[in-house]
């Protein structure tokens, strides 16, 4: 399963990437599992995707909770809490 990953704002700067295409292992089925998968890369990824960090997620451009199920071709974005307005 392949997805498009996007990162925004402080998180984009922290990991030094605006996004990537990613092939997911079969064990990664939800947004929460994807987050843990990214944290397992270690270093800055472990630091900024740690469970204690305040990270939000969107699946196909809708804000979702960690249990949201990912499908092939989905767009998944991670970002800090929003601060517009």
């Amino acid at each position: 399963m392949a997805i498009k990953l996007l990162f925004f704002a402080g998180l984009r700067e922290a990991v030094g990437s605006a996004g990537e295409s990613l092939a997911l292992p079969a064990a990664v089925a939800t947004v929460g599992e994807l987050r843990a998968h990214l944290a397992a890369r270690g270093g800055k990824w472990a630091e900024h995707f740690a469970a204690t960090r305040n990270v939000r997620a969107a699946l196909n451009q809708d804000m979702v909770a960690s249990g949201a199920v990912i499908k092939d071709g989905d767009e998944v974005a991670f970002f800090p809490p929003v601060t517009g307005g």
Partner: protein
């Protein structure tokens, strides 16, 4: 229900005139127009702010704002609503965001306008980075914004909270 994300400034009078004209014959039934403009302050969390840069998530931003306006129209009897949000670099006193609601009566127009702003603050994917005397910094989300959204029955960002650990 127009939604615009733009770098350019906006003009309240012109936007209101366009919204009223777009109502056609129903324009004569409008009795209330409520508006809110957010502007850039020169101080935040004790530091001077020389400028700020607004980043957003193109595509999702427009979707989120349209969803917010749809919610507002389903909750209150308003004829139309508008949101304009600026992105890019802004300076103190610049306008950032405009919300306009119009309808027959002020109660609905006021409530819908406040709802749209409270919802936008916690659900629309914009992020502010400030330039202060001690360097650049990303603005932290405020617990008071979640509280304001909660009074309308809007859950905090992230839905079930399982991805929102560490929230202040």
């Amino acid at each position: 229900m127009p939604v615009r994300v733009q770098t350019e400034d906006f003009d309240l009078s012109g936007e209101v005139a366009r919204l009223r004209a777009a109502q056609g014959e129903r324009a004569a039934q409008i009795g209330a127009i409520a508006s809110f403009i957010g502007t850039v302050r020169d101080i935040n969390d004790g530091s001077g702010v020389a400028a700020m840069t607004l980043e957003h998530y193109p595509g999702m931003t427009e979707r989120a704002l349209e969803a917010i306006l749809t919610q507002a129209r389903s909750r209150w009897d308003i004829y139309d609503a508008l949101v304009i949000h600026r992105v890019g670099t802004l300076h103190p006193q610049d306008q950032i965001v405009l919300v306009v609601t119009l309808g027959a009566h002020r109660g609905e127009a006021f409530a819908a306008c406040e709802f749209i702003m409270d919802y936008l603050k916690t659900q629309a994917p914009f992020w502010k980075k400030e330039q202060t005397p001690s360097g650049e910094r990303w603005v932290d989300a405020r617990g008071s914004d979640d509280a304001a959204a909660a009074k309308w029955g809007i859950a905090p960002q992230g839905g079930d909270g399982s991805s929102t650990q560490g929230d202040e």
